[in-house]
Assembly symmetry: C2
Homo-oligomer: 423 residues x 2
């Protein structure tokens, strides 16, 4: 029953059926949102006790510090220890930021431009050209940072085990290539985990640029929703073992653990990098919000506390991903018009339509009242060379709404494919 094997007449008839089905769905006047990886209200409610914590004035003292007052730029020691434990890095390698790890990433790139990084010969603003490797499909906000600073973004395809490393190893021979964006665990949007081989090859890179910045966005480090927590290798150690001690900057946050708008973020990098960056950071701010750090620490206590909490998220997330896969398996798979992954963690299902059909599919779902991230958004310059990738973000809508949205998506994927085949 694969569409590609059908005759023109058969396709015409299927098209008519799909159009009828689509128009009926459209007539419902739906208003559904599968656009961003936003936790649902039920997930937010899991952390109500964190917000509602009551402390006596004396309980604000922690690590010998009054968490309410100025100071302690690197963050509360207790929270640093907790993040170090979660990421498998050393305490000294951690820096706690505000509510968004994206902010830490932007700031790091910004400092590379204004001050240069530790290993930079000059600030990037003084260079003719700065290039950055953008494995794709990837996180649109990473690419937005590169674009904002006027970098030349170089597309590197992502395979099931991570970025195409043959290509990466070749590209980093160019001294203008200054870094690479990575989401190594449950990558956004592919949901894959980089393989050991890929990780080893990344850690062993020999970039011509001495100040090559590996942007290791470990956003989904504990975000399993299906099965047990999968330990992940510490990239800081691997880079150090490969003589690339100062190459990697790791990022994470509690945005999708506690509150997306009010979590705690962390950057981990070599002690030398940290020492260098702190000289600039101490000019940038007096300290980040230590009360929020205090509350997070008291709420979790330790790594196990975080993992236990993630189990509660998993109970809410898994049924939604099951719906996505169930619909795709049932209504799309038999017709051979799309491929998709089966992630066990993270926030997305990455859907590859038939080549040349992503924009049209997106248009169809949009016109039927379903908001999805724009086609191409997961690629540098918003340019998907095959026009096939769409990102499904099922976390926010309640199950019934998700089912309605998936119904629209499945019909749209098929309709776009048939239109394409009919030329």
């Amino acid at each position: 029953m694969e569409y590609a094997k059908l005759s023109r007449n058969e396709l015409e008839s299927i098209k008519a059926e799909l159009e009828k089905e689509y128009n009926e769905l459209k007539a419902k006047g739906l208003k559904l949102d599968m656009s961003r990886g936003k936790p649902s209200k039920a997930q937010l409610d899991l952390s109500t006790d964190l917000f509602n914590m009551q402390l006596s004035p004396e309980e604000f003292m922690i690590d010998g510090i009054d968490a309410r007052n100025y100071g302690t730029l690197s963050g509360l020691p207790s929270m640093r220890r907790l993040f170090a434990d979660l990421l498998g890095v050393k305490y000294e390698e951690t820096f706690i930021g505000g509510s968004a790890s994206l902010n830490l990433m932007f700031d790091l790139i910004s400092k590379a431009y204004t001050h240069g990084l530790l290993m930079s010969e000059k600030p990037w603003s003084q260079l003719e050209k700065v290039k950055f490797l953008c494995p794709a499909p990837g996180y649109d906000r990473h690419f937005a940072i590169s674009k904002s600073f006027g970098m030349e973004m170089i597309y590197v395809p992502i395979n099931d085990d991570g970025p195409d490393m043959d290509m990466v190893e070749e590209l980093v021979k160019d001294p203008a290539v200054k870094g690479m964006w990575c989401v190594p665990k449950y990558s956004n949007p592919c949901g894959i985990i980089y393989s050991d081989e890929v990780i080893d090859r990344i850690a062993a890179l020999k970039p011509a640029a001495k100040d090559f910045a590996l942007m290791w966005d470990n956003a989904y480090c504990v975000h399993e929703f299906d099965g047990e927590f999968i330990p992940f290798r510490d990239m800081l150690t691997l880079c150090r073992e490969n003589g690339n001690e100062n190459m990697v900057y790791e990022f994470a946050s509690t945005s999708k653990i506690t509150f997306p708008g009010a979590g705690v973020s962390v950057m981990a990098t070599s002690e030398k990098n940290m020492e260098y960056l702190l000289k600039i950071l101490t000019v940038q701010t007096i300290s980040y919000d230590k009360l929020n750090q205090l509350k997070h620490f008291k709420f979790f206590k330790d790594k196990q506390g975080v993992l236990d909490h993630m189990k509660k998220h998993a109970l809410l997330m898994k049924p939604k991903f099951d719906v996505v896969i169930e619909y795709l398996d049932k209504y799309v798979k038999p017709y051979g018009v799309a491929k998709y992954n089966h992630p066990k963690g993270g926030y997305f299902v990455s859907l590859d339509t038939m080549e040349g059909c992503a924009k049209r599919t997106h248009q169809l779902v949009k016109e039927a009242g379903v908001v999805m991230t724009g086609a191409g958004a997961t690629f540098p310059y918003g340019n998907d060379p095959k026009d096939s990738n769409l990102r499904i973000a099922p976390s926010l809508p309640p199950i019934e709404e998700l089912k309605a949205a998936m119904e629209v998506l499945c019909v749209s994927v098929k309709l776009a494919a048939v239109e394409k085949l009919l030329g």
Copy 2:
């Protein structure tokens, strides 16, 4: 009894007395801190109810937004309205940041370097030279930002009514002069309020640089500790009326209203500037901590709520400033070896020793166990041309410790002066 009018013999005898007195104080092995404008524990305790607020899941909804989730980059509308009311600016002109307004200032300057400001012909990183006006004595952290970005800092003396405007008006004719740091109300450290005439002249400046950035740090906008709240003119309106709509960036925060380490900051600037900056800010972060904004809004409700709260701070602050002035009046004034202000708000008393005596005085107090901000720190490049300014920050230590510290300071000021007079 002014030292300058005494004979050498008389001075020698006084010196011996002062040395004896100083050594006795030193022998006590004091450990006192008057270095930074940090609120005391009693002040922090005033906001315990803010931290301990309890909300049901439904109460996180405000302005139609779930404050827990991603989004609403400019900040919660309720909190923006509150800040707009406090500063006398328009709602549309406000942007709520994280816990430190210093961070907003650094970020703005950083954006001027990487992207340029709205009126910039090119990013400042592409200019041969960037100069910045630094009225001094001023806030050391402002100057640290300028220094970090490699600006040439130009010293402008501060008079009792604000910066020397004849000088400022002359200096801004240089197109390389890109901005000026100002703390217009209860200036750090002088404690003065800029006069109407000075404010009018600043608003009417005609800088050669089209992208001149007036950094209007209104850090002490509601920080009266002696007497009623003094309304302050809205610089955004004044600049607009003078055709300088896009020249001014105003900053404030609740750091010294609620929690220094965990307050809410605000930037106010023209709607055109805001529109321009939001395009970069939306790349920099997803949103700042809206839960902290929510708590602050619910704690204060409105401007009057903030002013009422500041009265509680005043009750704790005024006795400390009274001690400082009492000691200076009693133990220093009669000898004609120092001048100082009598602020009614803010966090500092600015002390001018005899010329050439600030560093020596600082050394003496330090060796007797009292930490003060370094001599010269209040000037660009840490270079006080007269070596006379010291900043007294009396808020943190309890009254008894403050008295002990002031005792040391008074003796040290006199001893340094006598040493100087004896040559």
